[in-house]
């Protein structure tokens, strides 16, 4: 569904990603892990069009998307959340979801100003669909509260709901469990599984909470210093010595030419 091919990106002299390749299969939950500064968020930003890769390409449903703007990519069916929550804080919970419907609705400037019947009909549809999504992510009781007033756990879930409102085929979640307590993290895991199982949406997840990652993901790609050091099922990745070194550090230098793939 999504293939990242030989992508490199540097900022100034700093290499954020070098020759990263990775495949995301349709219907899977793919986790992207690695120590801080490994380039995970940079990779998400490239997929969602915020950055363009210096080298390499990104294909979504066999179509090159790496030169498109974030808006175009979102319209193609890739939605995302942000590491630092980017909700519309001064808008209510339901309104946040309703904005998510924007790209999938079409009432124009003038017909809206004149409040034509077609606009009213579409507005009702937007409200109904948004209310459904709110129910789906268990936030209906918060409907009319300002998004900024929600606790962080609910904000992160609302961000996922807003991403769902765009009817994506692929969602990118950037550290959805950051700042969440254990119960919230568990609820989040349930919602992510529900999205994949019921809505058949493919999920790419950047996350530091290893419990969550190991529990819900089908495959994991591990980045370290901008390079892929391992790729496989949670079990394979957990046993991979290079991954263990990357996370725990080692006392002796890694033998040169050592590769996780052998």
């Amino acid at each position: 569904m999504l293939s990242i091919r030989d992508v490199s990106k540097s900022f100034g002299g700093l290499t954020a990603l070098s020759h990263v390749s990775c495949e995301v299969k349709k219907g899977e939950i793919k986790a992207l892990i690695g120590p801080n500064g490994a380039g995970k968020t940079t990779l998400l930003n490239i997929v969602s069009g915020i950055y363009q890769p210096d080298k390499g390409e990104v294909l979504f449903l066999s179509e090159k998307i790496f030169h498109l703007t974030p808006t175009r990519i979102a319209r193609k069916g890739i939605s995302r959340t942000f590491q630092h929550v980017e909700l519309f804080g001064n808008m209510t919970v339901i309104e946040n979801i309703m904005v998510g419907r924007h790209a999938r609705t079409r009432s124009g400037f003038f017909s809206s100003g004149l409040k034509l019947p077609t606009v009213m009909k579409e507005e009702r549809e937007i409200q109904e669909k948004s209310a459904k999504i709110l129910e789906y992510i268990n936030l209906s009781p918060r409907r009319d509260e300002l998004a900024a007033n929600l606790p962080i756990g609910e904000q992160r879930i609302l961000e996922i709901g807003r991403a769902l409102a765009t009817e994506p085929q692929l969602v990118l979640l950037d550290e959805p469990a950051a700042g969440l307590n254990m119960k919230e993290t568990r609820d989040l895991g349930e919602i992510i599984k529900k999205i994949r199982n019921h809505l058949k949406i493919t999920v790419v997840l950047v996350e530091h909470d290893m419990d969550l990652v190991m529990r819900i993901s089908d495959s994991i790609t591990v980045l370290n210093f901008g390079e892929v050091i391992a790729d496989g099922t949670p079990l394979e990745v957990q046993k991979n010595p290079e991954v263990i070194v990357a996370y725990l550090g080692d006392e002796e230098e890694m033998p040169r030419g050592y590769s996780a793939h052998t």
Partner: protein, 316 residues
């Protein structure tokens, strides 16, 4: 329409209908007419600033385009006034596109400066090449439609305020729609808007065009009402005056634009009694109101009403 908007709208209509009946003096109505003309420009700027988060210091330019294009078309082009007014709105819309496409890629102060430049360019053009040059020209035909010519002060009062009502209705509908939601969203996070597939630049350009069209309509009405125009009415001073109206009224509420326009138009008239000190008192009032009602008159009024209502509920 939300309940609050509906109530405000009813009060607004009643006031507009009653004013000429209660105080039929030509003077009062004339001040009312200018308030209405200014309100049209202010509503556009209010949507642009309060909802699209863009500052324009060039509204006088569009106001001038409206006045000059409509006057020339009706005076020399032989077009019916209504058609001239509409053509002028289209002309201002086109000018807005030409300015917006490069300028809205700029942010914050840069955009403000770009619009300021636009306003000045229009002013210079009118001064140098406009008919009559700096002294302007007259004999502009009165507003007329369907064979009926508006030439009385009362007639203009009702004409202009019904257009304010129509523009207000259109604007309220717009900001309560999908588009308005998107505009508010842009205010909070452009990053997230892009990720939701919103075309932020296009939306901003559309709002910019809308504000230009409103200003143009106001300019045309001004020209056909006064029947004489000169560039001095379309200088930077006017852009700043409109900006003041929107800020005094409160940029986050469309009704603020109308209240602000009325206050700023009426205030100098009320201060006539201070004679040569009027400008000083005017400045003092503006400074104080911005110090104590920073968010604008209307948002503060709404807060007070809510508080009173809260007290009333608590007593029962």
């Amino acid at each position: 329409m939300k309940k609050e908007d509906l109530i405000a709208f009813v009060i607004f209509i009643v006031l507009v209908i009653l004013l000429p009946v209660l105080s039929g003096s030509t003077y009062t109505l004339t001040v009312g007419i200018f308030s209405g003309i200014n309100a049209l420009v202010a509503i556009g700027l209010c949507i642009l600033m309060g909802y699209a988060g863009q500052v324009s210091l060039g509204q006088a330019g569009f106001y001038g385009v409206g006045a000059y294009v409509s006057s020339m078309l009706s005076l020399h082009g032989g077009f019916p006034v209504v058609i001239s007014v509409i053509l002028a709105m289209i002309a201002a819309g086109i000018a807005a596109v030409l300015l917006a496409v490069p300028a809205l890629r700029l942010k914050g102060h840069y955009l403000a400066v770009a619009t300021l430049g636009f306003g000045e360019i229009i002013y210079v053009i009118l001064n140098e090449w406009g008919p009559g040059g700096p002294s302007g020209f007259g004999d502009i035909p009165h507003f007329s439609f369907l064979g009926y010519t508006v030439d009385s002060t009362t007639g203009y009062f009702y004409l202009i305020w019904s257009l304010v009502a129509a523009v207000m209705l259109f604007s309220i509908n717009l900001i309560r729609s999908r588009t308005g939601r998107a505009l508010r969203a842009i205010h909070d996070s452009e990053l997230a808007c892009n990720a939701m597939g919103l075309n932020v630049v296009t939306l901003k350009i559309k709002v910019f065009i809308l504000s230009a069209v409103y200003a143009s309509l106001a300019g045309s009405l001004y020209a056909h009402y006064v029947t004489f125009i000169s560039p001095s009415s379309f200088s930077l001073f006017y852009s700043i005056l409109v900006l003041t109206m929107v800020i005094v009224g409160g940029i986050t509420n469309l009704w603020g634009a109308i209240i602000g326009a009325v206050v700023i138009t009426v205030l100098p008239e009320l201060l006539r009694r201070f004679e040569e000190l009027d400008v000083l008192v005017y400045g003092l009032i503006l400074t104080l109101s911005l110090m104590f009602f920073r968010r604008g008159l209307v948002p503060i009024m709404i807060e007070k009403i809510k508080k009173l209502r809260g007290l009333a509920v608590a007593k029962h």
